[in-house]
Symmetry: C2
Subunit: 215 residues, 2 copies
DNA sequence: TTCACGCTGTGACAAATTTCACAGCTAGAC
DNA sequence: GTCTAGCTGTGAAATTTGTCACAGCGTGAA
């Protein structure tokens, strides 16, 4: 079994490699990739073991080949098909970002209960009423659902999407969803992240003050 | 030293306890809180050790007292003062969400380089030009900076905020920032999270198919 | 051709994190 | 008062995650 952390780092390497390739880098050493990703060289080498790509002791990793191996490992060569539920302020921000495709993520359709929002397109993405979820999703082989509805609605929305056959979610609502073990949920709780940053900010800034006092 | 994971869970407990209290719950057992947070009861008890609050074997934890202890541990009784840099589509979504304060997070000011956006208020938050960053932040004792500028700009923005004395950041740009060890950065990379969810979605759905075949 | 340098791949080790399991306690029953 | 069921707090074990360190290899130099 392969850990979440490893997957996160591997997707990060993918992004960094794409950048490097566009800058004309043809080969890269583990310590260089490590610097970019802010991890140790040993970590990079260990992570790359799991995808089975081998580098060369003298020239390092071939950027193009490594990208190819990563692509194959993730099997996302044609982009990641997703749907978004909840076309509020956050939903619209995500649509405007991902519909002007700078990434390999494709938002194929959006859904909302509000009749004011349905029937038209936002940032080039069609917004459907929730009643049409099942039939629309069935046609699309969607890999991942983006949940941007209020917290109170999130559970029923995810239940409906699971019933339509989706196994992966990114949940922006500040609630822990209840899902079967065959479904993966990545929670992106902005509030929680700010609280975390604030906690460490305080503790780091206290540490800094102490050190200054001791000198 | 206390780990990031523990802090994340503790902030989550805080949110859940707030909800429980508003529902009239006066006491809660570790296994109940664990169910809500989707962790094990032992995990809850171990986490609560670090804040020094003790429960009662017969009645569990007193919701009000525990919240009080958490408040004191995090020292955020007056809310978390933040500033936001980059009033684009994502920045505006965050402003509209946090300025209609449902949480303890306060966005005290926003900044942008675009003269079209500066000088006015968005969702009740004043948007300043970047040139006024230093003086404005100096007046405010800000704990956390929210970075919602394009990836290419993120490093210079964070450098400027660090120079103004901010030690904590939530970074939405898809780049790894370079910061001194006295500064904490929480990266919220939406693209990366979707890729992660898509990877596990696929592997879970393959597993499901296999099991069905084996039967 | 031979050598030496500096990298990769990986077994072994170390650290961090989670879970186990149980002593000790406490409120209610009787 | 005494007993007991079922919780908490916490050492110790287990598991997960990251690092070390070095054998082995490929390349360019001589
Ligand atoms: N906006 C932010 O920056 C921000 C920040 C942190 C967290 N969040 C979270 O993200 C979620 C969305 O936030 P928002 O600010 O976009 O809210 P919003 O109120 O602007 O939008 C919510 C949208 O969901 C739709 N909706 C409601 N119930 C629905 C249902 N059952 N099915 C389908 N659609 C439904 C509404 O019609 C609306 O368009 C919330 O859970 C919020 O807590 C948002
Ligand atoms: N919008 C989304 O849903 C989304 C999703 C994933 C990631 N992101 C990331 O979040 C960031 C912002 O995204 P966005 O969609 O809001 O972009 P945007 O282009 O809509 O907004 C960026 C804002 O930053 C301002 N800006 C540019 N350079 C600046 C500087 N040096 N100092 C201060 N302000 C500056 C611009 O004027 C603009 O208002 C980007 O890094 C993007 O990759 C956004």
């Amino acid at each position: 079994m392969i850990s979440e952390k490893t997957i996160s780092r591997l997707t990060n390497y993918q992004t960094l490699l794409r950048q490097q390739q566009s800058m004309g880098t043809s080969h890269i050493f583990s310590h260089q990739l490590a610097d970019l990703a802010r991890v140790t060289p040993a970590q990079v080498r260990r992570d790359l073991m799991v995808i089975g790509y081998s580098g060369n002791p003298r020239t390092g990793y071939h950027v193009g080949d490594l990208q190819e191996s990563l692509m194959q490992f993730f099997a996302f060569s044609t982009g990641i098909p997703t749907v978004l539920v909840g076309v509020g302020s956050l939903g619209r921000a995500l649509l405007s970002y991902f519909m002007t495709g700078r990434s390999n993520i494709r938002i194929l359709a959006a859904f909302d209960t509000d009749p004011v929002k349905t029937g038209r397109s936002i940032s080039g993405c069609r917004v459907h009423p929730m009643t049409r979820l099942r039939e629309t999703v069935a046609d699309l082989t969607v890999t991942c659902g983006l949940i941007t509805v209020p917290g109170t609605e999130a559970q029923k929305v995810v239940d409906a999407l699971i019933a339509s056959g989706i196994h992966g979610f990114v949940n922006f609502a500040p609630v822990r969803l209840k899902v079967p073990p065959t479904v993966f949920v990545e929670n992106l709780d902005v509030t929680s992240s700010i609280e975390k940053a604030a906690f460490f900010a305080r503790s780091y800034s206290l540490k800094t003050q102490e050190e200054q006092t001791h000198e």
